[in-house]
């Protein structure tokens, strides 16, 4: 009797242990997911497809990030858009337009406007980390999807936090790949949803290489971001995130 009971206990422990160990708290899940997405620095090549009922545009861009707050995106194709760039340092955002050959600081009232005609706003570019700092997190569901556990974390804004959304629901796979993100407006109605269409391996880590943003009030339009190449934790020169580099890129 005893060995059998022991066996059952061991078996139970073996199956339960990984599950227990793999369910960290909601805060950790989001931090890990963002760390996986950006690392301490990153450099990537991304294609953005903007789909509208009567047209579709495909833009190529290069992106660099440093820490949680700094980012530079430079468009390289098509010719019409090449050269346009957006720089975010701390809480400020600047855009560069080659036709004007001028750097313009984005006023706060423009932050919710569409970024380069896509379904992303400038806020998405600059405020993505707000999810970690300005929201409280709660694990609301765990599901099994094709051999992986997928955690759903609900992020609710802290009182008085300067946020756009009523709440945000994030789905994170157990290897910390962000699988989906639903943005709820102040009336708690889902306003838009981003989903990972494809998870691949980039620079040795699992990564959502194709993600699509759907504004839920405009069913016939979407924007897809496909990351074709990325390096993480690379040493980036400090001049990269400066206004002079925004206007006159070195390299």
């Amino acid at each position: 009797m005893v060995p059998r009971r022991l066996l059952v206990t061991i078996l139970a422990a073996m199956t339960a242990a990984p599950a227990l160990a793999a369910t960290p708290n909601a805060d950790v899940i989001l931090r890990q997911a963002f760390a996986n997405y950006r690392s301490s620095s990153s450099q990537s090549t991304v294609a953005m497809t903007v789909h509208r009922p009567d047209w579709e545009r495909r833009l190529q861009m290069k992106g660099w990030t440093r820490g949680d707050n700094d980012a530079l995106v430079r468009f390289i194709a098509p010719a019409k858009d090449a050269g346009n760039a957006t720089l975010k340092v701390g809480g400020d955002t600047w855009v560069y337009n080659p036709k004007l050959n001028q750097v313009i600081k984005l006023p706060g009232s423009m932050m919710s406007q569409s970024w380069m005609g896509s379904d992303f706003s400038y806020n998405d570019l600059s405020k993505s980390e707000d999810i970690i700092t300005d929201y409280t997190h709660r694990l609301v569901a765990t599901a099994q999807v094709s051999g992986h556990a997928v955690w759903t974390v609900e992020a609710t804004p802290k009182p008085g936090a300067p946020v756009v959304w009523g709440k945000v629901a994030l789905e994170v796979r157990d290897d910390y790949v962000l699988m989906g993100e639903t943005f709820f407006d102040q009336d708690m109605k889902p306003a838009r949803r981003m989903t990972a269409d494809r998870v691949g391996i980039l620079a040795g880590r699992p990564y959502p290489v194709s993600m699509t943003m759907h504004p839920l009030d405009q069913p016939s339009q979407w924007t897809r971001i496909e990351t074709s190449d990325a390096k993480f934790d690379v040493a980036l020169p400090a001049y990269l995130f400066t206004l002079s580099n925004l206007q006159n890129p070195r390299s």
Partner: protein, 406 residues
Amino acid sequence: MLVALAWRNLWRRPQRTILSLISIAIVSGLLVFVLSFQDGVYSTMKETTLRIFDGYAQLQPTGYADDPRLELAIGHPDELVRAAEGVDGVTTAAARVNGFAILANGSRSYAAAVVGVDPASEAKISTIASRMSGGRYLRADDTNKAILGDILAKNLGVKVGGKLTMLGSARDGSVAADVLTVAGVYHSGIPDLDRSILEMPLARAQDTFGMEGAANTIVLGGPSLAAVNRALPALDAIGRRSGVAVRDWQAMEPALRDAIDLKYATSMLFYASLVVVVAFIILNTLLMSVLERTREFGMLLALGMRSGQIGAMVWIELLGLALLGSAIGVAIGAAVTLWLQNQGIVMPIDPKLLAQFGVPSRLYPALTAFSALAGPAALLLTIVVGGLVPYLRVARLTPAIAMRAS
């Protein structure tokens, strides 16, 4: 015969009759004037407000009102402009492109609505052209010029002759970028406009925002708001053929409409109480005269007149009084109103305060069939219906009792 009797009865007590007539006349006359004045002030308010920027009505792509996006556009605005100008009551139609962009001057940048306008027709619709506080309005031969509100200009630190950089999204999602020279600065007196709107030539805006000749709205002007309102069904028919919706002033300025509706509702309460009070005074007078004449009515009954006839006679007395009184009231009220309509009434209020509400300091009442007749008609109706009380009282009389009444 009843009418003759009633008429004679009225003048048996001339003092009482004249006093009643005067009170009816004063109230009717007063109602004619206040209603006309109110109508006049409101239509001035509406027209002044709408003439600043909105126009008396607009043609817009279906769905634009709820979601004003640059992509929602009218493909061939010229045809619609011509069709709209052909409608009776519309004198000018002006196509506009409504973009949104960051305006920058050096390190200063602000978001603003960028409106592409046709200077010649725009000047006939929007009073911004006549409210330039510096420089001049756009001209037909301008290419890279712009005008903007004084608050926006101050925020950007830009003066007439200065250059502005504009960066926004074009219709196809690409970047809309341009450099414009400031030709003038306007002061509309509406802070929301003065802080947020830049106007540039239509063709250049169409080019910059990738509109390919399309426009977002067509703004309509006419001799008066009423004339354009009458043209709405015809405009609607034109719009429906090209997938374009007509937006009237109430849809464009719902706050103004609600404010006016509320003001109407509260003043109607006041007018109604005025009518009721006067009606009761008149009825009271008549009831007294009926009681005084009970013995006389008894005599008439004894002579063979039916009680219903006597009741009708009393009621006709009342009707005659009310008709005559309100006729005098309407005549005097209308005459005074018409005179003031020519002279205008200068309001003893700070013109700057009035300007905030889109009201000029000299106001003109507007005499219409409604304002001239609605008040007196309500008074007449109340008195005539109320007159049933003395009528019923008289109709119940029997000769024996009535003749013995003290």
